[in-house]
Subunit: 228 residues, 2 copies
Amino acid sequence: MSTVDLSELEPVERRSTAAIVADRLRTAIMRGTFPPGTQLGEVELAARLGVSRGPLREAMQRLVAEGLLRSERHRGLFVRELGAEDVRDVYTARTAIERAAGLLLLAGDRAAAAERLTAALSRMEAAAADPVALADADHAFHAEFVAASGSPRLRRMAETLLVETRMCLAALQETLPPAAALIAEHRELCDAVRDGDAERMAAVLEAHMADAVARILAPDAPVPAVPA
Amino acid sequence: MSTVDLSELEPVERRSTAAIVADRLRTAIMRGTFPPGTQLGEVELAARLGVSRGPLREAMQRLVAEGLLRSERHRGLFVRELGAEDVRDVYTARTAIERAAGLLLLAGDRAAAAERLTAALSRMEAAAADPVALADADHAFHAEFVAASGSPRLRRMAETLLVETRMCLAALQETLPPAAALIAEHRELCDAVRDGDAERMAAVLEAHMADAVARILAPDAPVPAVPA
DNA sequence: CCTCGTACTATTGTCAACAATCCGCGGCGC
DNA sequence: GCGCCGCGGATTGTTGACAATAGTACGAGG
């Protein structure tokens, strides 16, 4: 038959300029290009992005709604600065979201989910050498974890929280843990999902988050984990 | 001493126009003034609100980021329509958030939290006769529940989800449950918080959410609850 | 009778200019 | 010397108008 591959020509729809600008700014903030506390001048940003101030302001309002920017009236927009309290808050929220996503995962197609997660895990292993690539892979793993749950709202919230997580890392000297320990924790999560063990999954997840908070807030304190 | 009451003159700062417009639109959508699927014409809305299209567009982008509006390029902005799948999704997300908030509550000052909740509960009882006032009070109770946890992120997410909840109710004929049963469920939640019983709190919460989903999606099916 | 092409209209997307507001600095009075 | 007032510069908030695009209706052609 003359049926050709249609999988690649569905999403012809270009998104609005404001959405593109918002994405660009989000990644820039996430990567630490704009350190927390810096003011985002509208005219300079607009010129640099090649758009006018209108769409730029719309994009900024979106980021304000996401909690990444803080708006002071007639003063300007500033990159939100995250303190210790915020780190704890981000991780408690992440724990809540990812735990719920994990439970949905277990209730759904565990095999497919485990496969997606192991794929993401292998990408983490491939990036173990490069710290920034490892951080990207970690981000992608958790995003995949929540996305696989099939819940669009959990997914959106998790994405916002992951961006804030990376802001924390970038701001607080990005003390990434040893790659081996990090990967081991994620592998355990994968196994729990594949086995359908909800208790273990939740426990591993909570321990993972608690470890991350402890590591970020007290970089010197050693975190008990698997040695290698 | 000459110390006067300072509690009421701190927040002199007026918020930006876009924020005000966003609030106005949010409540309008929440109350069902704009039924799901309706297009929000910019010129008409701007004229009706007495602002220009610029701030209005910024407010709308905020609501898009919150998931209340859906943007189609060169077509306009429409109120997001929620189906059965969305109802389930909203309530799973709410369960995740409120469960986490409840755990934080138990870890903090239980007595103060219980007091705030019982106050909110009494407001529900006072509004038992009027369905819309009862819905408002229910909304306020859950908002208070999450706010008392002290987590700004959980609070913000919960607020968005509560707005979506009311959209669901307004769209699907707002079949509110009998006031007595509703209040009884919330009172049980209060008691669990005061007693510090995490297991019971989570169980009550999940049952409450499951009941709500069942009621919304199948209005005729009787929900087993306390008779009166 | 149905289908394709085309002009029109209404709406959104974008832009540049105007007005209001706030910070920093210099001068004045006490 | 210290504090207050006023002014200049810069930035944000807002406005109106211009341009591009999608939907719609009408008419021509098969």
